[in-house]
Amino acid sequence: MPANIIIEAFVGGLLTGGIYGVIALGLTLIFGILRVINFAHGEFLMIGMYISYFSCTYLGINPYLSLLIVIPVVFVLGVLCEVFLIKPVLNAPEDIQILLTFGLVLVFQNLALLFWTSDLRNLSTPLAFKLIKIWGISLRLTTVIAFLASLLLSLAFYLFIKKTDFGKAIRACSEEREGALFSGLKLNSIYYLTFGIGITLSAIPGALILPNYSVSPFIGLSFTLPCFIIIVLGGLGSAPGALLGGIIVGVAESFGGLLLPGSMQKLVTYILFIAVVCLKPSGLFGAKVRD
């Protein structure tokens, strides 16, 4: 295989990986603070993408501008979901949480199917085809922008967590959930705000990749699954871990795409999941040992 194809695949994977990383960041944030595994993470991305798509199509704006609509809408949606659906099961056994968020997956996917049909929607903008050359490799402009935006987002998130009061409150919450010296009311608001932020973090990349990605009601799982791989690889609650894990997964999928025919590409993700989740040393969720 010619070297430049491999390099392109590698760089392409790198870029995709950075984007994955931000999505996974949202997931790990939600888990770290609320201790809920959000099965429906990818579905919020899907919703964000549809919002962006319709904004672009009916308002004639570009996807980047559509973020002005996507972000508030998705954030509010996230908050509402947390308050009405997640909060009741915050202290329930893990099974119930899995089933609830799985129920959310079914609801979102099939509502999307009902409203918007299973037709693949594609934003046909000339932007999608623009290439730029970096170090002799041709890359899609939109992918590069998405990658850079993801980096910016991660940086912004990092600063937010480390420097702002709310960020500090979130961190205190993750360390000592029951012992957090907050009145019940304050703890609640941390939860729903964090959930909203986590969801928004996953929806923003959706808008960013829209130029090159067709949206359908079923794309959610294709993002949720890599996200789970990423948080296993990178470690729970670890922001740099999410990004690093994202890059690993992005590159792995990219090479998988190179070697396997289209219909088999998902195999890579599935096998990767099984391998990663088995081989990553336990101490993740593994033995929930008391101490």
Partner: protein, 318 residues
Amino acid sequence: MSEKYLKVAGVLAILVLFALPHFANSYIVHIGILIYSFGFLSSAWNIVGGFAGQLSLGHALFFGVGAYTSTLMLTRLGISPWIGMLIGGMISAIIALPIGVIVFRYKLRGVFFAIATLCFAEIFRILVSQMRFTGGSEGLLIPIMDSSWINFQFESKLPYYYIAYIMMLLMLSVCYVVKRTKLYYYLFSVKGDEDAASAIGVNANRYKTMAFVISAFFTSFNGTFFAQYYMFIEPETTCAIPVSIDILMRPIIGGLGTLFGPILGSFIMTPLSEIIRKVVGSGMSGVHLLVYGVFLIIICIWMPGGILPYIARTIKTK
């Protein structure tokens, strides 16, 4: 006293349902077949999902193995689907064994176990859709043969009805027996708290794997039934995620870990999804899944564990 009423009601129900085909139309008989099939499948799933508390999202794998094994053995070797059914069950068990060993050895729990089973099922589906040997994504037709028991083919729905019915009752008996074995106690303790169970000598991995293998073995049987009833199998209807969802919805709604929960769940959800299908038409295929999702959310928030445990709890606190 109420227990006696329940037993009488139960026996009556068994007899009525047995006699049903003789005074109901063909469509009702078909619904009955579906209800019993799902009752069978859900009970089998319940062994690992309810008794052991390990939510498997990948049971479509075993259903598919059953369907494809018996069909391939019929079309290529001319072997009766009944034998194919048994072989399919054994193959499912053989596949479930390493999966269980690996997955539990590496301490996959909760959501990671669930997703891993989903991955295995999806891998199987993709492979089956790609191989010519299994008919690819176009699927396989079961050849039309003379109506007979050996061929597991009948012109009328009645024999199918009784087979499905007996299968469901048999599965119920299997679960009833399992509930009286040591295995059940081990599983219950592991489900509640695996670390604490280990501390009192329970080899959690071994028993979880056992439950998984048993569940896989029986799930597979209904795959064969499906193949022989519909006379056509394809990856979408036998190995895809909606199949796994259909299987696990019923015990979750009816009562996870209980004996009759899966059956109750099937009696509620199966007619419901059929009605939805009729009302909404084939154009909107997602509606019944949407309803499933809503039910799941409602159950999780208000009746965690399912309807039967909820009723039991409400009665106890009166």
